[in-house]
Structures are given as C-alpha cells and as structure tokens.
C-alpha cells in the first residue's frame, strides 16, 4: 500500500521533468514557471541556469506523501504551539526527527537514481 503511494510520487516527478507547468511545484517549478514557453526552450534554459539539486524537491514531495504528511502536520503544530508560548521547556526535536525519518526513507528510495 505504502509502496505504491511512493511510486506515484516518483512518477509525478518524472513527468514534471519532461513537460513542466502541469502542476505548480513549490521548488522544482520555480524556474520552469518563469519561462512559460514550450518544453524544449525550458530545458535549455534549465541547463543555462545551472543544475538543480533533486534532494529538496524530493523531500518536499515526500513530505506530502500520505505516509509522512501526518507527521509533518504534527511537527508544524508543535512548532506553532512552542512558538506561541513565551515560557516553555518543550522542544520539537522529536517531532522533527519523526517527520524527517519518514521523509528520508522515501527520499532515499529514488534520490540516487537522479544522481550520477
């Protein structure tokens, strides 16, 4: 179950590489949205602009995956809770670790296939 969900993540990423502007991505889409032209032009532009690190993009997507999204919201809730109080001993380290542990696992599956 979980496996297929992460496979989907992979697929969307690959599709986005070839024909961008289909879904607005927060980080990966930045460069591509600015151009707005056809796919070939954008690919050339991308080469000129320098390489884009695949890890933050994957991490972002993995954070949205059904498996990790709950942990992410727990982390964000914790952040808001702690930041809203002036005097608290609580930290969100464990929440961050739980979320990142999940997202890391998902990133590790596909990251190296995008590197040389």
């Amino acid at each position: 179950m979980a496996f297929t969900e992460e496979e989907e993540v992979t697929l969307t990423e690959e599709v986005e590489d070839e024909e961008p502007t289909e879904e607005p991505e927060e980080e990966g889409g930045d460069v591509e949205e600015e151009e707005g032209g056809n796919a070939e032009e954008e690919e050339e532009e991308e080469e000129e602009e320098g390489p884009i690190d695949p890890k933050p993009i994957l991490f972002e997507e993995c954070g949205e995956s059904p498996k990790c999204a709950p942990l992410k919201s727990v982390y964000e809730t914790c952040n808001d809770r702690v930041n809203s109080r002036s005097n608290t001993e609580e930290t969100c380290t464990q929440e961050l670790f739980d979320f990142m542990h999940c997202a890391d696992k998902c990133v590790a599956k596909t990251l190296f296939s995008r590197l040389k």
Binding site: G50, P51, I52, D53, P54, K55, Y75, C78, N79, D80, R81, V82, N83, T88, E89, E90, T91, C92, T93, Q94, E95, L96, F97, M100, H101, D104, K105, V107, A108, K109, L111, F112, R114, L115, K116
Partner: protein, 247 residues
C-alpha cells in the same frame, strides 16, 4: 531542568550505494570527483593524513596526474646539511599535507571546534557513508524550542544537533572535470564515496578476494565431499547379516 529528552540525533536512512552489492566495486569515477570535492572544499579545514598521493595512482588518477598533483603542493623536508628544514615540491610518496600545523592551531582557526581528520571517518561514525551524505545535505532550521549558539549550525544528524561546521556544499560551487552537474547531493555523494575509499582502500581487493576464496573453497569442499563418500562407500554399503547356525 526537566524536559522530555528527544533522541540525541536523527539516524540516517540507508541509501542504495552502487558499491553495496556483495561483488560490487566502488564507483571510481565518483572517487575521482570526490577527491576534487575534498581538495577544493574539505581540505581547507580537514586533514587526511593516512592517504598519500601514491594511493591515488590506479584508483582515481594516472601516475602522471598523481605526480602533478603532488608537485603542486609544498612539503616540508629536511634537515639539510645546515640543519635547517626546507620546502620542496611534493612527491608521490608524500602524504596529503594537513591544513593546520597542530590541533591547537586548527581550534584557534575554527571557533574552538577541531575539524577531525577524515581518513577513517567512514568507520568512525555510525552509518558510514549514509551518515556522511545525510550530514552534508541535512542542514536545516532548528525546530522550535531549540536555540543554537552563535557560530554553530543546526544539523539533525549530528549528535546533539549543534555542529561547528556550517553548511559547506552548495549547488554549482565547483566544476567537475567530467561535466557532471555539481548539485549539493552530487557533491555529497561523491565525497562520501571518496572517503569510503580512504577508509577502506582495500575495498575492491576485499571483494575480489572474497570471490576467489569462495570459488576455490567451494570447489575444494565439493572435491573432499566426493572423495570422502568415495572412500567410505565400501564401508557404508556393507551389510551385516546374522545367519543363525543351522541345526
């Protein structure tokens, strides 16, 4: 202070390294790129004192290339006939020159933090190359409630979270000679593979020896099994029969 302690550090995930397989060698193109990363980035602060230029020959560089690399650094040698130390161009047999003369100088230059020698770093930290890759790419904002002292950076993979080394790798900070896009992940991957090789220069030999030993030993085991069965066949197939004397 009373607080619920979180784990000390975040454990790195396992990445599918190309040298993971039982018979897989290290990626030598990656070692060569990783050397470049070490030389241009890490070596400003980290020594690598177990590796000599000659070690690169046949691994990541040709002999001529390694000689040229060695000659590009000055090594202190001596004493000469006047009893004085002097500088000379490096030779293949020289070890990589350290960035600082001693630990005290290294601490003084780095805000009190000592950049560790990287020669055996792969074995010196849990997780090995997974840890190094995660650490180098894992800098992020500290979670709420954690303040990092000035001069330190937050990295969830580092024990305690506060690390003296700020983020070092950035997209496109150097140009690979083979044209590989120099993204942060790529740089981190290559330098992790390079340091894996530094820790275990015998890594590929180890795998080859395993294959040879496995083949030869299994062949010999087969032979001795057959030989034993063969020699014992007479004994094992004999029949003991009791024939009562006929009255």
């Amino acid at each position: 202070m009373l607080r619920v302690e979180a784990d000390d550090q975040l454990h790195p995930p396992h990445y599918p390294w190309s040298h993971d397989g039982i018979l897989s060698s290290l990626d030598h193109a990656s070692i060569r790129r990783g050397y470049q990363v070490y030389k241009e980035v890490c070596s400003a602060c980290h020594s690598l004192d177990q590796i000599a230029f000659r070690n690169l020959v046949g691994v990541s560089h040709t002999e001529e290339e390694a000689k040229a690399l060695a000659e590009s650094v000055n090594i202190e040698d001596g004493p000469n006939e006047d009893g004085e130390m002097f500088l000379r161009p490096g030779k293949l047999s020289d070890y990589f020159p350290p960035p600082y003369k001693n630990d005290e100088e290294a601490r003084a230059a780095n805000n009190g933090a000592l950049p560790p020698d990287l020669s055996l770093m792969n074995k010196a930290r849990h997780g090995g190359e997974d840890y190094m890759f995660s650490l180098l790419t894992g800098y992020c904002d500290p979670p709420a409630g954690i303040t990092v002292r000035e001069g330190l950076s937050y990295n969830p993979y580092f024990t305690g979270g506060a690390i003296g080394m700020p983020q070092q790798l950035f997209d496109d900070m150097l140009e690979y000679e083979d044209g590989t896009p120099a993204t942060v992940s790529q740089l981190a991957k290559d330098v992790s593979v390079f340091l894996k090789w530094c820790t275990e220069p015998y890594y590929d030999d180890k795998k080859r020896m395993f294959m040879k030993a496995f083949l030869i030993i299994s062949f010999l085991t087969g032979i001795s099994w057959y030989y034993k069965r063969h020699k014992w066949s007479v004994l094992k197939t004999r029949k003991l029969a009791y024939k009562p004397p006929v009255k």
